[in-house]
């Protein structure tokens, strides 16, 4: 075969560039191999042969050859993508796009978990960290340390499950082992662990000997909070809890505080929030009062601080507690607490997507 001059080879290839946009898929592939194929492509061979040319010629032909290679590459790519989209479009033309898409199983956290997390996060923003403790406690931790007088009617507010753990302790002697009736023993554990300041939220499960009915369960969730430092007062309690209520319910929420009684706080209060369903105008959820009872709170009783070796003359603080189940029921309009325990896929699926 006569040695072709590189320049004439280039000239011969150039017209084929213009034909690329008209090629079909098979012809395109053949042309790609014929021009740019690694082994036998015409332009590939030409580029390889450049090394044998004299410097001036190499410069002139080399530049032109590289330019042509880039032009071919771009043309092939453009044609390939045009062919691909043509084919997709053709397929799409035959699809019924109203048909349902393919789904997969989507899981969800329990609605009460979500409420607990949301509440804890709001308090986290106010400097409260999470603390937890055991669910089985001694009587002293659950009652005595929290200033429940032994054998006092205040105990009647807490119907208690006692455990058979052997030994000779008996209900009423302080050493008997029970299922905690509130998360308050974790307040004691927190304060026993080191000096103030304390700022904790305590999520957990608590037990009361109440049979199941639409609004009671023998085991339920609770969140308590504790803040103890120098200079903490009733004003801080009110300010902190109002901030929480506005974050959790709505920025326009109002609150009211009513005197109440808990052995471990004094003064003690119940906090009501303006009904978030009727905005205070009265509805069935708030029994027409415009208010919803949401949490109990108060200033930590000096005796409780003393039991934890915290000087009540120097340190003061507040504590609060609420029931996430009740809040979840109010928020989602759940009529019966038992639904929260039954693990019904339909229920969990419905609320898995609730806000």
């Amino acid at each position: 075969m006569a040695e072709s001059h590189p320049q004439s080879l280039l000239d011969a290839l150039r017209p084929r560039l213009a034909a690329v946009p008209g090629l079909d898929a098979a012809a395109l592939e053949a042309e790609q191999i014929a021009v740019l194929g690694r082994k036998s492509g015409a332009l590939t061979a030409l580029l390889r042969s450049l090394a044998t040319l004299a410097p001036e010629e190499k410069r002139a032909v080399g530049a032109a050859a590289n330019e042509l290679r880039q032009a071919f590459e771009a043309a092939f790519e453009a044609r390939a993508s045009a062919l691909a989209s043509d084919s997709a479009g053709a397929k799409a033309a035959g699809l019924d796009l109203t048909m349902p898409g393919r789904r997969r199983w989507v899981g969800a956290e329990h609605p009460v978990t979500r409420v607990v997390d949301e509440i804890c996060e709001i308090f986290h923003g106010l400097g409260f960290n999470r603390a937890v403790g055991p669910e089985a406690e001694t009587e002293w931790m659950n009652f005595g340390a929290l200033n429940f007088p032994a054998d006092h009617p205040a105990m009647d507010m807490h119907d208690t499950f006692y455990l058979d753990v052997g030994g000779d302790a008996r209900p009423g002697d302080g050493k008997a082992v029970l299922l905690r009736t509130h998360t308050s023993p974790v307040q004691i554990r927190t304060m026993m662990a080191g000096p103030p300041p304390y700022r904790v939220v305590i999520p957990g499960v608590v037990y009361r000997k109440d049979p199941f009915d639409p609004s009671h369960a023998p085991v339920f969730a609770q969140i308590e909070g504790l803040a103890v430092d120098e200079g903490i007062s009733f004003v801080d309690l009110k300010g902190t809890l109002l901030h929480f209520a506005r974050q959790f319910f709505s920025p326009s929420t109002t609150v009211r505080f009513r005197p109440s009684f808990f052995p471990f706080t004094e003064p003690s209060a119940e906090m009501d929030v303006s009904c978030f369903l009727c905005q205070g105008s009265g509805c069935s959820a708030c029994k027409g009062t415009g208010w919803m009872e949401i949490l109990g709170c108060g200033m930590v009783h000096p005796t409780v601080l003393e039991h934890c070796k915290v000087d009540p003359e120097r340190f003061t603080g507040f504590a609060f507690g609420m029931g996430p189940q009740r809040i979840a029921m109010l928020r989602y309009g759940i009529p019966d607490i038992r639904l929260l325990y039954e693990g019904d896929m339909r229920f969990l699926g419905q609320l898995g997507r609730a806000g």
Binding site: A154, P267, Y341
Partner: protein, 791 residues
């Protein structure tokens, strides 16, 4: 506590609106749970004037009445009451009215004469049992005036939720005291109808023994009974209570029994002091003694039950036997009855804990025990006794025999508490002016005995507030009367807590996120159930036998949740639970608690789609294995999943089994899928951070090997052998396919593996990879007798 609106009006001498009263009490700390109208069904009854009475033409015992009911139209009413009299007023139920008994009146003919309504008796209005005739009204109210407006019987019962620290609110006087502060007014005991005022002389004080009216009174158990007042009334006539007394005890929800018993109950409901009246003629040896019970002593209480007493109990006895359980219930034998003429009145202070212990031991609660447990006013006995004597004399007659006796073996005084205004400011966050503090303390009945000195004041608390024992109790009273809503609500600067957040909470959250990503729903079930394994902790007082133990495992509870879903015809169930399990620890000590996670799946692996003809394959053990591995990586990082019998186990470093996964048994309907589940212990240790590994910058080369594998050789072992033989360049060995069937000899299976090779620093040449594959095949052939499968 049931509070009557009308009774309160008697204390406060002003009209009260029950809703307003409820709001005021709530602001002061006593929630009103309900407002119940008494005498419902009388709204349509009006006052009517009978203008004329004529005989009924067709019946001897009936009359025709011409009635003015205020409507302007004279009504013709047939009346059978013998006492109907012209120009008198009676309650009238017009046509259309429904009476408390449920009777709705219609216009009808009685023996040929039209009757347009009914003139009512007290019984027909639910106001008593008297049925002698219609109720004649003494009122100036014009005809047509609503009956409830004209007559002083309309009332509402306020059901007050009294916290255990406020026994004073268990009497109308205590509630009136709170309201008097709220209204800025005064209160006093209502006058007793038919009485000229209290006339009882002051009781004679004595130590532990004395005599009144010929009855010897003694305290032998001063611990259980620190104070005892007694009086003897002779010549009383026991009978039904007058209307006002009956209305009072019934308004509070108690049953009217007799004038004497109602009088003692009335006093209890007013002043929160339970009393007891004994029939003097039944007192053996003319004695009333507060003492300990003797072992085995018996008493038939007022409820008719015979009870065996213990030495730990305080009782009231006469000269020979027990006549009452102190503070709990009296005995039947000395009960006041219609034949009683002479009374011994008891007004005592019984020690709250003793009463509580006795009540619990006897399983016998009463209005009295409820009040003594919470603490009655130890210093109010004389007022109570005076009030009781006044009401009894006004309703049953009788005269005091001698002076009442007041036994106190040891005289005590209400506590004196020192209050520092500076401490008030420290706790409440604002300065409360001194004069305001004094005003609040006076309002609750305390006596401020000194002006501020050394930064503190001395306060004598009232006897009806046994909850006031220390300075903080007075600070609460200051806050309460100041009004909680009158304190500022400020988010003041604070120091953050120094304790880090509990690690277990963070671990729980991460595990939850991971299992939600696996498409599982979280459940929260009861940690109580039947005994589910060794070391299960038994409840001493369970709600039921089915919930008699704490769980040692989560899976049994989850299986019950799956069964519940099956019962609701749900086939595809995917659940997990994070929770605490319990196991017996050392004797007498709290059980050991573990944090665990468990999951169950059954039914379709993925939601059915039309592209699969509406069918999706069921989850099988391989779905479980990947779920278990994912959960194990979250719950117990570093644990390896191994085969154990027909199940998988997770083995932690150190060899401890920390989890298990496999098929489960449940009460499955025939259409249910395979039930699969796992349970893992959660490692509570901090998780180590896994750092960044550079992404490969060189390409990988893959080779697939299709092998003929004899039975008994595990894929995992084979994979490990391949990896070992393949050398350092092998990046991964994965099972691609398993094949049994045509072309595979019996006792064998076809297993295909994909080997990926990579060198971190260069592109591998084909020859290197091929050499490794050759070596792998040689090792497989020589050491395991495995050949490539002919394709």
């Amino acid at each position: 506590m049931n509070i009557s609106r009308r009774w309160l009006e008697g204390f406060l001498r002003r009209p009260l609106d029950p809703a307003d009263v409820a709001a005021r009490l709530a602001a002061l700390g006593a929630t009103v749970d309900a407002i119940e109208p008494l005498h419902p069904g009388l709204e349509q009854v009006v006052v009517a004037l009978v203008r004329e009475v004529r005989p009924h033409p067709n019946a001897d015992r009936l009359r025709l009445c011409d009635v003015d009911d205020g409507s302007g139209t004279p009504r013709s009413v047939v009346c059978g009451a013998p006492n109907v009299t012209a120009r008198c007023k009676y309650p009238f139920a017009p046509v259309g009215a429904t009476l408390p008994g449920g009777l709705t009146l219609e216009r009808r003919k009685i023996r040929g004469e039209v009757s347009e309504g009914m003139l009512c008796s007290a019984r027909e209005l639910g106001l008593g049992q008297e049925h002698d005739g219609i109720l004649e009204l003494t009122t100036d109210a014009a005809p047509g005036t609503p009956f409830l407006k004209a007559m002083p019987i309309a009332d509402e019962r306020l059901v007050v939720d009294v916290t255990p620290n406020r026994p004073d609110l268990l009497g109308h006087k205590g509630v009136a005291r709170e309201l008097a502060y709220s209204f800025g007014t005064t209160y006093r005991l209502p006058a007793v109808p038919g009485s000229d005022g209290p006339s009882m002389p002051s009781p004679v004080r004595a130590g532990s023994e004395g005599v009144t009216g010929g009855v010897r009174v003694a305290i032998e158990d001063a611990e259980g009974c620190p104070r005892f007042l007694g009086a003897v009334l002779r010549g009383v006539t026991v009978g039904p209570s007058p209307e006002w007394l009956r209305a009072r005890v019934e308004s509070a929800g108690m049953r009217s029994i007799s004038n004497v018993v109602d009088a003692t109950n009335c006093v209890m409901l007013e002043l929160n002091q339970p009393m007891h009246a004994y029939d003097v003629s039944r007192l053996e040896g003319h004695a009333v003694i507060a003492r300990r019970a003797r072992a085995g002593e018996r008493l038939t209480t007022l409820d008719g039950a015979e009870r065996t007493l213990a030495e730990s109990m305080t009782v009231i006895a006469d000269g020979t036997s027990v006549i009452g359980v102190a503070g709990v219930m009296g005995g039947a034998h000395s009960e006041v009855g219609p034949a009683t003429t002479d009374l011994f009145l008891e007004c005592a202070y019984f020690e709250p804990r003793r009463v509580r212990a006795t009540r619990k031991a006897l399983n016998l609660s009463s209005e009295a025990s409820y009040r003594f447990e919470r603490g009655v006013d130890r210093w109010n006995g004389p007022e109570v006794l005076r009030r009781a004597v006044e009401i009894i004399q006004a309703t049953a007659g009788g005269a005091l025999d001698g002076e009442p006796i007041d036994l106190q073996p040891q005289v005590a005084h209400p506590p004196r508490i020192f209050l520092r205004p500076a401490r008030v400011a420290q706790v409440l966050g604002v300065d409360v002016p001194w004069d305001a503090i004094e005003r609040y303390l006076v309002a609750i009945g305390a006596t401020v005995v000194s002006k501020p000195e050394d930064g503190r004041i001395a306060v004598d608390v009232p006897g009806w507030r046994p909850d006031l024992l220390a300075e903080i109790d007075l600070i609460e009273e200051v806050a309460r009367l100041h009004g909680y809503d009158n304190f500022p609500t400020e988010l003041r600067p604070f120091r953050v807590g120094e304790l880090p957040s509990a690690l277990s909470e963070e671990l729980d959250a991460a595990i939850r996120r991971g299992l939600v990503a696996e498409g599982l729903y979280e459940v929260q079930s009861l940690p109580l159930g039947p005994e589910d394994g060794p070391g299960a902790v038994r409840l001493l007082n369970p709600l039921s036998a089915e919930e008699g133990y704490l769980r040692t495992r989560l899976l049994p509870g989850l299986v019950r949740r799956v069964e519940g879903n099956w019962a609701a015809h749900t086939r595809d169930v995917r659940l997990f639970e994070l929770g605490t399990t319990f196991r017996l620890g050392r004797p007498g000590e709290p059980p050991a608690e573990e944090r665990r996670v468990a999951g169950v799946v059954t039914g379709a692996r993925e939601p059915a789609h039309w592209s699969g003809a509406g069918k999706a394959p069921d989850a099988d053990p391989w779905d479980l294995r990947s779920l278990f591995e994912a959960a194990a990586a979250l719950a117990h990082p570093g644990a390896t999943v191994q085969v154990d019998g027909g199940e998988w186990v997770a083995i932690a470093k150190g060899g401890l089994e920390v989890g298990r996964a496999g098929p489960l048994n449940g009460d499955a309907p025939p259409w249910a899928g395979l039930l699969l589940g796992f349970e893992l212990l959660i490692d509570g240790a901090p998780r180590s951070v896994s750092g960044f590994k550079p992404l490969p910058g060189t390409p990988a080369a893959a080779r697939d090997l299709s092998l003929l594998v004899p039975a008994g050789l595990a894929a995992a072992d084979l994979g490990e052998a391949i990896r070992k033989a393949g050398g350092k360049l092998v990046e991964s060995v994965d099972v691609l396919d398993e094949y049994r069937g045509a072309g595979v000899p019996a006792g064998h299976r076809g297993l295909a593996f994909r080997l990926r090779y990579r060198a971190p620093d260069r592109t591998l040449r084909d020859q290197e990879v091929d050499a490794s594959v050759t070596k792998v095949l040689k090792v497989l052939r020589e050491q395991h007798g495995i050949e490539l499968r002919a394709s």
